[in-house]
C-alpha cells in the first residue's frame, strides 16, 4: 500500500535527482522491514505460535481433559483469588499515590516518583526473599506470628503480599500522567461550587482518568495472574494448596507432563492476548481524546 510518510521524502528527493534515490530508498525500506520482521519472528512470533501448537497438537480432547484435572482447577481458583485481592488493593493505593503526587508540589517529589518504580527494578526473587525475611520463621515478625499461630509464608497471605509488591506501581504509573495532564482546574471549580470531596472524585476526577485507570488495572491484573518469581519464593508450591497457574506450568513441565504444562500455558497466553487487545483499545481511546 502507498505510504503517507513516503510521499514528502520522495518529493524532496525529486528536487535534484529523479528516480535513483527512490529506488534505493525502496531497497533500503524492504531490507529494514525484512530484518525487523525476521528478528521478531525468531524471538517473538515462532515461540508465541508454538504455545498453541503444542497445546493442541494432540487434539482438543487432550486439552479439555487436562483442564478438568483437580490440581489444575485449584490452581486456577487460587490464581483468580489472589488477583481478586491484589487488584483492588493496588488500585486504591495507585489512585491515592497518583493523586497525592500529581496535585502537590513538595520537596523530594521526584524521589517519591522514583520510589514508586522500585518494585519494577527489583528482581521478583529478591521481593520474595524480603517477604520471607519479614514474615518467615526466622524473620522480624516470625516469633510473634508463630505465637499467634498465623501463617503468612507458604500460605495465601504471603502470596498476596508478594503479588501486591510486584504489581504495586502499575495503576499509579498509568494514572499519574493523565492526572497531571488534566490539571486541577475542574476539580477546583467543582469545589467552589460546593461539591464534596467524594462528589469531586466521582463526577470530575474519575471520568477524566477512566481510560488510564482501566489500563493500569488491566496491567496489574495480567501481572498478578502471571507472577512467578516472587510467588515461587513465598508459596512453597504445594499442589492443591499454594500452587498458582504459573507455578503449575513449571511443576508440570518438570514432571515431564508437557501436555498439561502447555494446556495451562495456553490459558495464560490467552489471558496475555486479551490483555494486549484491551490495551490496544484503551490506547486508541486515549489517543482519540488527545486528538480532540
Amino acid at each position: 500500500m502507498p505510504t503517507k510518510l513516503e510521499q514528502p521524502a520522495g518529493h524532496s528527493f525529486g528536487v535534484s535527482q529523479q528516480d535513483a534515490p527512490d529506488q534505493e530508498r525502496a531497497w533500503v525500506k524492504f531490507t529494514l522491514i525484512g530484518v525487523a520482521l525476521a528478528y521478531l519472528g525468531v524471538v517473538l512470533f515462532i515461540p508465541a505460535v508454538n504455545v498453541f501448537y503444542e497445546a493442541f497438537k494432540n487434539g482438543f480432547g487432550a486439552f479439555i481433559a487436562n483442564l478438568t484435572e483437580p490440581n489444575f482447577v485449584h490452581a486456577i481458583q487460587l490464581t483468580v483469588l489472589i488477583a481478586l485481592i491484589v487488584v483492588p488493593l493496588n488500585t486504591v493505593f495507585g489512585l491515592c499515590a497518583a493523586w497525592a503526587i500529581a496535585r502537590h508540589r513538595f520537596p523530594g517529589r521526584a524521589f517519591v516518583i522514583s520510589i514508586l518504580d522500585v518494585p519494577f527494578a527489583v528482581s521478583p526473587v529478591v521481593a520474595g526473599l524480603m517477604i520471607v525475611l519479614l514474615y518467615g520463621r526466622n524473620g522480624w515478625f516470625g516469633p510473634f506470628l508463630q505465637a499467634e499461630d498465623i501463617r503468612i509464608i507458604f500460605a495465601l497471605p504471603g502470596m498476596v503480599l508478594a503479588t501486591a509488591f510486584v504489581t504495586m506501581p502499575f495503576v499509579a504509573r498509568e494514572v499519574l500522567p493523565v492526572l497531571e495532564e488534566a490539571g486541577s482546574d475542574q476539580e477546583e471549580a467543582a469545589k467552589t461550587l460546593g461539591a464534596s470531596d467524594w462528589q469531586i472524585f466521582w463526577r470530575v476526577t474519575l471520568p477524566n482518568i477512566r481510560w488510564g485507570l482501566l489500563y493500569g488495572v488491566i496491567l496489574t491484573n495480567a501481572r498478578a495472574m502471571g507472577e512467578f518469581g516472587a510467588v515461587t519464593v513465598v508459596s512453597g508450591n504445594i499442589a492443591r494448596k499454594t500452587q498458582t497457574l504459573p507455578l503449575f506450568v513449571e511443576e508440570a513441565y518438570k514432571q515431564y507432563q508437557t501436555q498439561a504444562a502447555f494446556s495451562a500455558a495456553v490459558l495464560l497466553a490467552a489471558l496475555a492476548l486479551v490483555t494486549l487487545v484491551l490495551k490496544e483499545i484503551l490506547e486508541r481511546k486515549t489517543r482519540i481524546r488527545d486528538a480532540e
Binding site: 500500500m1 503517507k4 510518510l5 513516503e6 524532496s12 528536487v15 533500503v28 529494514l32 522491514i33 525487523a36 528478528y39 524471538v43 517473538l44 512470533f45 515462532i46 515461540p47 508465541a48 508454538n50 504455545v51 503444542e54 486504591v92 491515592c96 499515590a97 502537590h104 513538595f106 523530594g108 522514583s114 522500585v118 519494577f120 527494578a121 527489583v122 528482581s123 526473587v125 529478591v126 526473599l129 525475611l133 519479614l134 524473620g139 522480624w140 495480567a222 495472574m225 502471571g226 507472577e227 512467578f228 518469581g229 504459573p246 506450568v249 513449571e250 513441565y253 508437557t258 504444562a261 500455558a265 495464560l268 497466553a269 489471558l271 496475555a272 490483555t275 494486549l276 487487545v277 490495551k279
Partner: protein, 286 residues
C-alpha cells in the same frame, strides 16, 4: 550505599509534606502507609538481615566462586541481551514509525507480548522451541550448537523478556522527530550514512540508552523464564536469582540475603541511572 542515604533523608521530607497538606491527608495516609508496609519495611528487613553479617563474612559469601560465576552469567548475559535489543529495537521502532506494511498494527501490538505473557509460559515455550528437537533448536543442533539448557538459552530468554523496552521508549521520540531536519541534511549534501549518524541518532540517544537500561534491569532480575530454559548448574548457566532460590531451599538464609542484597543494590543503581538518563532525555526534548 545509595539506599541507606535515601532512607535516612526521607523521614523529614515526609513529615514536612504531611504538615503542609494535613487537611487533605487521606490519600496521603494511604499512600505512605501502604508504601511503608509493602515496600520500605521489606527492604529494611533485607538490609537489617544483611547487616547482621560481619563485613568480612558478607564479602566472603558475596564473592564466593559460585556467586561470582552467577553474577557473570547474570550481568554479562543481560548486558549482551540488552545490547542486542538495543540494535534491533532501534530498527524495529524505525520500521514501525516510518514505514507502512501489511499487518503493521498487529505486529506493533504484539511487541508488548513479553510484558503480558507470564514468565513461566515464556520459559516453557522457549525451552520447547530452542530444545534440540524444537522448531528452532533442531536447526542448530546439527551444527553442534545447543541453545536450551545452556548459557545461550539464558540469553535467548533475556532477549525475549526485554524485547519491548527499547522499541517502546524510542517510538514516541521517533514519532515526534521532525523529518524536515533530515531532509535539510540531505539537501545540504549529507550522505544517508552521515544523516543517520550525525542528524538522526544523537537526539535519539537518551531514549535508546534508557530503553537499553530498562531492558538490562529487567533481564538482571528475570527468574521465571530462565529457571525453565536453563539447567541451573553452577559455573555453567546459573543466574543470581536462581542461586538465591537455591540458597533459600537449603535454608541458607544468610547466603540468600547476601546475594539478594548485591542484586538489590545493583538494581537500585540501574534505577538511578535510568532516572538520570530520562532527565537527560527531557533536557534534550526542551
Amino acid at each position: 550505599m545509595a539506599v541507606s542515604s535515601l532512607r535516612k533523608s526521607s523521614p523529614p521530607g515526609w513529615k514536612s509534606t504531611l504538615g503542609t497538606i494535613s487537611k487533605i491527608s487521606w490519600p496521603w495516609r494511604i499512600t505512605i502507609g501502604y508504601l511503608s508496609i509493602m515496600l520500605l519495611l521489606p527492604t529494611a528487613a533485607l538490609f537489617a538481615k544483611a547487616a547482621t553479617e560481619s563485613p568480612a563474612n558478607f564479602w566472603k559469601i558475596a564473592t564466593s566462586p559460585v556467586a561470582l560465576s552467577a553474577y557473570d552469567v547474570t550481568f554479562v548475559t543481560s548486558f549482551i541481551a540488552a545490547l542486542f535489543n538495543g540494535v534491533f529495537g532501534v530498527l524495529i521502532a524505525w520500521v514501525l514509525v516510518r514505514y507502512d506494511f501489511p499487518f503493521k498494527r498487529i505486529i506493533d501490538a504484539a511487541i508488548d507480548l513479553p510484558f503480558a505473557l507470564p514468565t513461566s509460559v515464556a520459559g516453557l515455550v522457549l525451552a520447547s522451541v530452542y530444545s534440540d528437537n524444537g522448531w528452532i533448536g533442531s536447526l542448530f543442533a546439527p551444527l553442534g550448537i545447543k541453545i536450551a539448557f545452556t548459557r545461550l538459552g539464558v540469553g535467548m530468554a533475556m532477549v525475549f523478556i526485554s524485547l519491548p523496552f527499547v522499541v517502546r521508549t524510542l517510538q514516541p521520540v521517533l514519532q515526534e522527530m521532525e523529518k524536515e531536519i533530515e531532509e535539510a541534511a540531505w539537501c545540504l549534501g549529507a550522505s544517508r550514512w552521515q544523516t543517520f549518524w550525525q542528524v538522526i541518532l544523537p537526539p535519539l540517544m537518551p531514549a535508546i540508552l534508557t530503553g537499553v537500561a530498562l531492558g538490562f534491569s529487567r533481564a538482571v532480575g528475570e527468574y521465571g523464564s530462565v529457571i525453565i530454559v536453563s539447567s541451573g548448574i553452577p559455573f555453567k548457566d546459573l543466574i543470581a536469582p536462581v542461586l538465591i532460590v537455591q540458597r533459600l531451599e537449603q535454608f541458607d538464609y544468610s547466603g540468600a540475603t547476601v546475594i539478594g542484597t548485591v542484586l538489590l543494590v545493583v538494581s537500585l543503581l540501574i534505577l538511578l541511572a535510568i532516572n538520570l538518563l530520562q532527565a537527560w532525555g527531557q533536557r534534550y526534548a526542551d
